[in-house]
Symmetry: C2
Subunit: 234 residues, 2 copies
Amino acid sequence: MIFRQLYDEETSTYTYLIGDEKTKEAVLVDPVIEQVERDLKLIQELGLTLRYCLETHIHADHITGTGKLRELTGCEGIAPENAKIICANRLMKDGEIFKLGDIEIKAIATLGHTDSHNSYLVNGDRVLTGDSLLIRGCGRTDFQSGNPGLMYDHVTQKLFTISDETLVYPGHDYRGYMVSTIGEEKQYNPRFVGKNRESFIAQMNNLNLPNPNKIAEAVPANQKCGEVESMAKI
Amino acid sequence: MIFRQLYDEETSTYTYLIGDEKTKEAVLVDPVIEQVERDLKLIQELGLTLRYCLETHIHADHITGTGKLRELTGCEGIAPENAKIICANRLMKDGEIFKLGDIEIKAIATLGHTDSHNSYLVNGDRVLTGDSLLIRGCGRTDFQSGNPGLMYDHVTQKLFTISDETLVYPGHDYRGYMVSTIGEEKQYNPRFVGKNRESFIAQMNNLNLPNPNKIAEAVPANQKCGEVESMAKI
């Protein structure tokens, strides 16, 4: 398997490129519109063909690259079940498995940051957690139908029950961490350690964070796979 | 082996944490002074003990965390042979091998960015290239006794001759790439592809880059392992 983590500095977003070495098919998870040229160049240099863009959820902080990539390559856009992404070619529900050559990508519905959100377990040894579990943190739950109780339930019951050695690759990081493990997060994530459901909810309801800069533009654009009206055709 | 790549966003610097799972000894390669607390916390959480800080070279764009880490942990500072780092506990020359438990770290002198610079080949399958070979780029050669001819010779003769599958982990990246391979860089690095020694030198002599913001402060501080006069004792 080819596996590459890529970073968008403006929004601290991680995009993941997964490629099957035999079929040369590739999927991009959570691409960012400003990085489409970089990502396509790398895919081409690695001898891969982009077949799918996979979203963990409808992002509020950046515009997805999926629409642009689909236009340029003919790839399919895949989104979580119940995501209000009217343009998705396919939806993935909890537990559904998606094959890319020999690679197995399993959707794990991890709600709470938004009301439709998948983590993706790749070949059983690494999980892309989007904006649910972050490294020593978690996604906020105070807009876009966020729900701190569901965040607590799904992280502790669905992610923390995967084996401790599983690598955790988040959708964002703001402190320079790239990867963690389930074992580490169970032991050291300050949002969860020593918290029960009630105290976790109280904590999340008192973060008082400002809205992301791009929320007004990003959410409606991402519901249309990143097709923004101001976007020049390329 | 525990292997973690860490990022300092202000200076786009990568620090590498390498830990031996048996002895629990750890080395930090190219730590950044502002990230010392983050790095020590992670080392502690992973159950490791910091034994060494390893420098690829005297940095001009950030101040090393080595002095502060040595003061806090009693670890040793290791620098490349000929580096004018008066405080180093030990120097590593070209070809020298350093063992951390079962992990083998081999110095490969890759000059050109500065007149003392080591890349480090870790367990034969990944090379930390500092500011010599970068992903689709290379370090500048226009200050600190830089030498574009040596950069060309050492990258093409010493790094491009390692096996194609070897992972390349650079000292910096400015576009969101984290890792590459020797094979990819031989095929796609625009600084080297289609260039001979002469055209490479001409290219490097015409980059006309501004000096790094911190050069006046960083170089003398790094010659003393990051012990800056204005640094408050912690």
